[in-house]
């Protein structure tokens, strides 16, 4: 008898919890819908009944000034959103954010699922998107991201190279967030052993870089840079430093007749052959090589500095400067971009004007916000933020240099290039080409293979 009671209890508990799960997701959505519709309707009614006074309508909507946001890093972009909420609440006391921590891979999967099923109601109001995935998602799922071009946000104050990631067909779909401006980091103590200083690495070309690198290799036995084999971060940075892309304006692949790409490939091979660049197998090995002092420097997006700074025993021995420029390319510069993300507003957002105004008056309009989030390493791509005093503060880790101001300055000089919808396909094809080219195969043939691979992927 006892056992029977127990079984019944267990079974009912299971059924209840199942029902609970099903009911939870089932009832939540309609409730939110009703809420939105309910408040919207009176507002509209009020407006219709009394066209002269808009205040009641605004008040009615004011009760529902809550936006849901998805982003992924608690110390970094979640924190930035909370700070933005505080800044915006000063003028909009009813405003509230519901920030949900969601890893980027999950955001991508959820966007894919929502867009393919046609039910966008599962998406938040605002989400953070990797810059490299922006074009792909806007074009693959045209219904997901709202057009922000005429939303009142001044996009001209952002670095052009950065904004370009979220522009599709001349329309702005994203508000740029974190900075991916490329910095070259060097171990000054190791450079010293080779009789060099950071100044010998500032505003240089890759030819000079290789020469200097050989000296460092001779004096210390350490390479100047490590890179992850099979990934072409450095290649993409070199390409953008000259404003070049793997794609043409019309979206066709630009590989075989791309002279800049040829220079980039040859430069990369020279770096490798000279021993100045050492390849490692994985990301952790790459970071490990920097932190454990196996390498005399690195070139990457400025977010790499967070990893560099985990090597506390090397404090004061690091310095940053701009990256080397390509030789024999007329548009070559010492500035580039790698990584970073932008805020997007979804079309399922009930109050798109509010979302746009929120982003416009915080991430595209508040130096206070950028000052508040600077300690977490979030550097602005919004030019006016760089003039703030907080950005001039020296960093002890980097030898007392005002690194933040330097990076903002770099970021405004980054040439813009075309990401392309098929960015990841092109990247992989080029990574394959460079691997084979380093191992001795012919450059022209490899580039032809790469182009045909990309064209194959595009031709569906």
């Amino acid at each position: 008898m006892k056992r029977k009671i127990l079984a019944t209890l267990l079974a009912s508990a299971m059924i209840l919890s199942l029902a609970g799960c099903g009911g939870g997701s089932g009832t939540e959505a309609p409730a939110a819908d009703n809420g939105g519709a309910a408040t919207e309707a009176p507002a509209a009614d009020a407006g219709a009944a009394d066209a002269g006074t808009e205040a009641p309508a605004a008040d009615a909507a004011g009760g529902e000034e809550t936006l849901t946001v998805w982003c992924w890093d608690p110390a970094f972009n979640l924190n930035a959103m909370y700070e933005a909420e505080k800044v915006y609440q000063k003028d909009h006391p009813n405003f509230k954010l519901n920030v949900v921590e969601t890893p980027w891979d999950d955001i991508q999967t959820k966007i894919t699922t929502a867009a393919t099923s046609g039910d966008l109601s599962t998406l938040p109001d605002i989400f953070l998107m990797q810059d490299n995935a922006f074009q792909k998602n806007v074009i693959s799922f045209p219904d997901v991201c709202a057009d922000l071009t005429n939303s009142g946000i001044d996009f001209s104050q952002f670095a052009a190279g950065k904004t370009a990631y979220s522009v599709v067909d001349g329309k702005n779909y994203g508000v740029p967030f974190d900075n991916g401006a490329v910095v070259a980091c060097y171990r000054t103590d190791l450079l010293e052993q080779a009789g060099l200083t950071v100044d010998d690495f500032t505003d240089i070309t890759f030819d000079q870089y290789i020469e200097n690198g050989k000296k460092v290799l001779e004096a210390t036995g350490k390479p100047l840079i490590t890179m992850q084999a099979g990934e072409c971060d450095l290649i993409m940075m070199m390409m953008q430093s000259a404003g070049a892309s793997l794609f043409n304006e019309d979206g066709t692949a630009n590989i075989v007749n791309n002279d800049t790409l040829k220079v980039v490939m040859e430069t990369y091979k020279n770096l490798k052959d000279a021993g100045v660049l050492a390849e490692v197998n994985s990301w952790d090995e790459y970071v490990g090589s920097i932190v454990s002092g196996e390498v005399a420097g690195t070139i990457n997006g400025c977010w790499i500095m967070a990893s560099v700074q985990t090597a506390e025993d090397q404090a004061g021995n690091w310095a940053i400067t701009n990256m080397p420029s390509l030789v024999g390319v007329s548009s070559a510069t010492n500035y580039s971009n790698n990584g970073g993300s932008s805020w997007a507003v979804t079309t399922s957002c009930k109050n798109q004007a509010l979302a746009a105004d929120f982003l416009g008056s915080t991430f595209a309009g508040s130096t206070e916000l950028y000052d508040n989030i600077l300690p977490s390493g979030a550097l602005a791509t919004w030019a006016p933020a760089g003039d703030s005093d907080a950005y001039g503060a020296p960093s002890d880790f980097f030898g007392g240099d005002a690194v933040s101001a330097k990076i903002v300055d770099f970021s405004t000089k980054v040439p813009s290039n075309i990401t392309g919808v098929y960015y990841y396909e092109a990247r992989n094809a080029v990574a394959t080409a460079i691997t084979n080219y380093i191992n001795g195969s012919d450059l022209a043939t490899e580039l032809e293979t790469a182009e045909s691979t990309i064209n194959f992927n595009m031709g569906q």
Partner: protein
């Protein structure tokens, strides 16, 4: 009067049986078969992301012109042809050693060999990656012992990268197959071995004349399971080598994943490639059953 009552009883039993079956069957139908059918329909469509349109069998002809996919098929078959036989032979040898009645610490050895199966696929792949890293344990050993002058980049050379994957697979799955053989061996009368011993059969003869023939059904089972598993290999390719260098260690499933989630999503094509794997598994399983079954 008693007869219909009996009928109702058996019918009652039947109904109870169906009632117990129904929830599971329904769940399998909803969770497994309906998605499969949807995937089949999807494989006849093409397009970017959400914009799909019918295309007939284009996806199925397309994959034979896809160099990366053909490369991934080649890689997967390389793993299959090299790894599965080695693994099954190893497992068989280990099982017959551990089946020896006089062996001490049998339980300990069995546990040790089976233990790798209890590790997570991702975790063990990452551990193998760090073992074979440029500054990893293997390179350190080789350099210290004077076998190598400087660290060898195992994962950035095609051949060694594939070998590392095969070694990893052997480590992970040999114990799993061994357990099947061990349980198969329990069903072989020990007196047969004793009889063979009396007849003067050597250990090798006993193995090939008694153990292997009597274990045939189990060997067939493990062969089909391993083939199936290898054709769907994913974790090792993603986590150990990331498909590199230059796609020479990428597996079919890894490429399908890239096509759906990393690249511009083309779900129709991905679905078609998945069905290609299904067909391959079916053909290979059929062949193995034909070869393994000599009853007719």
């Amino acid at each position: 009067m008693s007869k219909p009552k009996k009928m109702t009883l058996s019918r009652k039993h039947n109904l109870t049986g169906w009632a117990f079956l129904a929830p599971g069957a329904l769940l399998i139908l909803v969770m497994s078969f309906i998605p499969m059918i949807r995937a089949l329909l999807l494989s006849f469509q093409t397009g970017v992301g959400a914009n799909m349109k019918p295309c007939g069998i284009l996806n199925y002809t397309r994959m034979f012109q896809d160099k990366v996919f053909l490369q991934s098929v080649k890689n997967t078959f390389f793993y299959l042809i090299i790894q599965v036989p080695i693994m099954l032979i190893f497992a068989l040898i280990l099982a017959s050693i551990l089946n020896n009645k006089d062996l001490k610490f049998k339980g300990l050895f069995r546990t040790m060999i089976f233990l790798p199966c209890a590790t997570s696929l991702v975790a063990y792949a990452i551990i193998f990656r760090s073992l074979f890293a440029n500054n990893g344990l293997i390179n350190l050993l080789f350099v210290k012992l004077g076998i190598l002058d400087q660290p060898y980049a195992f994962l950035t050379n095609t051949f060694s990268a594939r070998i590392v994957i095969i070694i990893a697979l052997l480590w992970r799955w040999t114990g799993y197959n061994m357990v099947f053989y061990l349980s198969g061996l329990q069903n072989i009368e020990y007196s047969i071995y004793e009889a063979a011993k009396i007849d003067g059969a050597s250990a090798v003869q006993t193995f090939f004349r008694i153990t292997v023939p009597l274990l045939k059904p189990t060997i067939l089972l493990t062969a089909i399971m391993s083939t199936n598993g290898t054709l769907q290999l994913f974790d090792e390719s993603v986590n150990l080598t990331n498909g590199g260098p230059a796609n020479t260690s990428i597996t079919m499933s890894h490429y399908i994943y890239d096509m759906s989630f990393k690249y511009v999503p083309n779900f129709g094509y991905s679905a078609a490639m998945s069905f290609f794997i299904l067909i391959l598994v079916a053909i290979l399983a059929f062949l193995q059953m034909k070869v393994g079954d000599k009853r007719d």
